[in-house]
């Protein structure tokens, strides 16, 4: 029987060059890279384990702990920053009771910051899952979170 990891690995050439792409798919599928994933991918692509671990911890795309069901991304790009994004982040932190980079204990929300979503006309922007919310104010953060919990 093919495991989920096998399926991912099948799509790529079994060479060290594929490491980042495979990790990206693992991250997307499992919402994190477990120790087992890192060990197995390293072995299959013939990458020394320390190098695989270094890659897993170097890039922002990877997390060694599971991420929440809903990933909230608050854009802290320059355009959003000058339009008040830090206030949005603080309000989200306050309401969720976690700091950026953390996940709520119930595994529901992960709060992340991103450096630019490239939709600067809508700044400040907050993305929940796939949905972008533009022109966010501290007051609307609460509504957006409530709406997400309901869905």
């Amino acid at each position: 029987m093919k495991t989920a990891l096998d399926e991912i690995l099948c799509a790529y050439e079994a060479s060290p060059e594929s490491l980042i792409a495979v990790f990206q798919d693992v991250q997307e599928r499992f919402r994190y890279l477990s120790e087992q994933h890192i060990r197995e991918v390293a072995a299959r692509l013939e990458v020394p384990l320390p190098q695989a671990y270094a890659v897993a911890t170097f890039y922002n795309a990877f997390s060694l702990r599971p991420k929440g069901k809903y990933i909230i991304k608050i854009c802290l790009g320059t355009a959003c920053h000058v339009r008040g994004a830090p206030r949005i982040l603080e309000e989200a932190e306050r309401l969720l009771g976690i700091s950026r980079g953390e996940t709520t204990p119930d595994g529901k929300f992960s709060l992340e910051t991103v450096n630019c979503l490239g939709a600067c006309a809508l700044g400040p922007i907050m993305v929940v899952g796939e949905k972008s919310h533009g022109h966010v104010t501290p007051l609307t953060v609460q509504d957006i979170l409530k709406e997400t919990e309901k869905s």
């Binding site: 890659v55 170097f58 890039y59 939709a119 809508l122 700044g123 007051l139």
Partner: protein, 620 residues
């Protein structure tokens, strides 16, 4: 179809040119990431439905072509819809507007007035008459609003792959390089290195294989030009790369693109497979001896990977750490083989140079910066969007003529160019012609093209702190000056913004900034001090106010102000008291309210909701 000869491609291109039937209409719906975030896909679906209904009723909808195009650039007014020919421009279109657009404009040629762009001088009907577009020179970006990025025929119909045909038919690699050298094209990724010279070095370098690489790891916050080119016109970048590969003698290319740009990755992937099917990529391109293919590599989200040597390590599947450049990557790059890396916009300029010739190309621009440059004009500006202007256009032309100035009647304070490596320029520099050398001389840099406008409510110390905070996180940590120096710069700035500045901080910042600049390994560290040095150069007084007076004149640094209620203006409507999350506002109905500074967390919601301007910031 698969073209096996250059002549076949040219004949096909003639067939698909201007494929719109006589009397036909094209509905161009902007499907760039910005408009999508504003709801463009719902608008597109509504058009599909409306046109299907027309067809069902036997109306003459056969002549109506609906196109989801790439980014048109005017993100501020999205979702955008343009009806061609005639270029009737509709803005902020919602799905509910679609029926009227179809019934009036598409079928009868009438205008829907309520959807037109309006400014002080009344409504404007045609795209090209809108100030935002009128003052631009769209050489590289212009086709975006006309073609579907998912159709190679659309690109062919606008003259696409004609430069490749010309190269394969009548030019030697040496001639191609000579033409690019003669065009004086400089790298659009930020460095401004002459592209032709880079190509020549790569061609002349010894190695069993060579590579060409497209840097689409657009990491500067506030910059999304490259994404919009890849999303909207991927074939143009591919064509540039095929020509580049022919010139330097490469058989394999890579596009290293941010994984955060899913639409760009998707459209590029489709374009590559279409190009392969058409015989434009792969073995014996168009029946010639030139063989070349392109792979996509998605970045892992590390800013430093925009640096060429770090990017090449990342392509190898490794940690993206830069190396010293005593040997250039054109000699020893990807897998230690000669590798020619250019950025998206640079590649997109190549077909233009080959088609029109270096003589034509060099007519635009300044003495040492030729052609046009794309900028993403964002921040505190009326018209946020993507702007293409000739090199040498002034900041004033870009920000005021095209950008429409500063919103809400506020005053212009600064413009930040060049991303985290760039600098902030004040109002006295507004007439600076924008090119590589002028911006560097002014203490900023061209960078990849982010242009962030700041108004009087932006604190320049906070902006410097922001960029240094960004760089603390993104420094790869390999060399000490960058890893530790940026950290210390950020700590000093953070203290200043929190009211903990000490006498001598400005001098400490300057000394440290110079050390980091002079001793860091790669461009990230070498330029990291620019935001500090440029704000110190032009906004020194603001630093002094923070340190000596413990005041933030812009009202941004929250340790330095508190919220208060102006009893004269407060009507006692209770709105602030009801929305305050901390219950820090008190007061009787119809009487002036008060804020308890001990309970206030300075979230600013009270100021956001007050309709009378009664909530004010006062020095703490």
């Amino acid at each position: 179809m698969r073209f096996t000869a250059v002549e076949q491609l040219k004949a096909h291109a003639r067939n698909v040119a201007d494929s719109l039937p006589a009397g036909g209409k094209m509905i161009s719906v902007c499907g760039g990431s910005g408009c999508r975030a504003s709801g463009a896909l719902e608008v597109l679906a509504a058009f599909q439905e409306a046109l299907a209904a027309l067809r069902k009723n036997g109306a003459s909808s056969a002549q109506v072509v609906l196109k989801e195009t790439g980014c048109h650039g005017f993100c501020e007014r999205g979702p955008l819809v343009v009806i061609r020919p005639g270029n009737i421009f509709y803005q902020r279109v919602g799905p509910e507007d679609v029926a009227e657009i179809v019934a009036k404009t598409v079928l009868k040629g009438e205008i829907v007035e309520s959807l037109l762009y309006k400014d002080g001088e009344g409504p404007v009907v045609h795209e090209e008459d809108i100030p935002f577009y009128k003052h631009q020179t769209r050489q590289v970006f212009g086709d975006n609003g006309y073609i579907s990025p998912r159709s190679v025929d659309d690109y062919l119909g606008r003259g696409g792959y004609q430069a490749l045909a010309k190269v394969l038919e009548s030019m030697t690699p040496e001639q191609v390089i000579a033409e690019v050298e003669a065009s004086s094209l400089r790298g659009r990724g930020g460095g401004g290195f002459p592209t032709g010279r880079k190509w020549r070095s790569c061609r002349e370098a010894a190695g069993e294989r060579r590579y060409v690489i497209c840097n689409a790891d657009e990491g500067d916050p506030g910059a999304y030009m490259d994404r919009s080119i890849l999303e909207g016109n991927p074939h143009r970048v591919i064509e540039g790369m095929i020509i580049g590969a022919f010139a330097v003698g490469a058989g394999q290319g890579y596009v290293y693109v941010r994984a955060e740009y899913p639409l760009a990755v998707e459209n590029l992937r489709l374009a590559l497979s279409e190009a392969r099917e058409a015989g434009l990529l792969g073995e014996n391109i168009l029946g010639t001896k030139h063989s070349f293919d392109i792979k996509i590599s998605r970045g892992g989200g590390a800013f430093v990977c925009g640096e060429s040597t770090a990017l090449m390590r990342s392509l190898e599947g490794k940690v993206g750490e830069p190396r010293t450049k005593h040997i250039h990557s054109v000699v020893s790059g990807f897998h230690d083989l000669p590798s020619n890396l250019n950025n998206v916009e640079t590649w997109a300029n190549i077909p233009l140079i080959i088609n029109r010739g270096a003589d034509w190309y060099t007519r635009t621009g300044t003495k040492h910066s030729k052609g046009t440059k794309l900028f993403s004009l964002v921040g505190k500006v009326v018209n946020t969007g993507l702007v293409e202007v000739p090199m040498g256009a002034t900041l004033r032309q870009i920000i005021f003529d095209i950008g429409g100035g500063i919103p809400a009647g506020k005053a212009f304070k600064a413009v930040q160019t060049g991303g985290p490596s760039g600098g902030c320029l004040p109002a006295s520099m507004l007439d600076l012609p924008v090119d590589f050398d002028e911006l560097s001389a002014a203490g900023s840099m061209m960078g990849s093209g982010g242009m962030i406008v700041m108004d009087e409510e932006t604190c320049m110390v906070d902006v410097a702190r922001y960029f240094l905070g960004f760089l603390v996180e993104e420094s790869c940590g390999k060399c000490t000056p960058c890893r530790e120096g940026i950290y210390q710069l950020h700590t000093i700035l953070d203290n200043i913004t929190r009211g903990l500045g000490r006498p001598g901080d400005i001098e400490r910042l300057e000394a440290l900034a110079e050390t980091v600049r002079d001793t860091s390994l790669c461009a990230l560290g070498k330029t990291a001090a620019n935001p500090v040095l440029s704000t110190l150069r032009y906004f020194r007084e603001e630093y002094r106010r923070h340190i000596e007076d413990r005041q933030c004149p812009a009202g941004v640094c929250r340790a330095l102000f508190r919220y208060d209620i102006d009893a004269e203006l407060c009507t006692g409507c209770t709105r602030c008291a009801r929305t305050c999350p901390q219950g820090a506002v008190s007061g009787k109905k119809k009487e002036p309210h008060q804020i308890d500074p001990a309970a206030c967390i300075k979230c600013g919601i009270c100021q956001d909701v007050c309709r009378f301007g009664a909530v004010i910031k006062v020095p703490a």
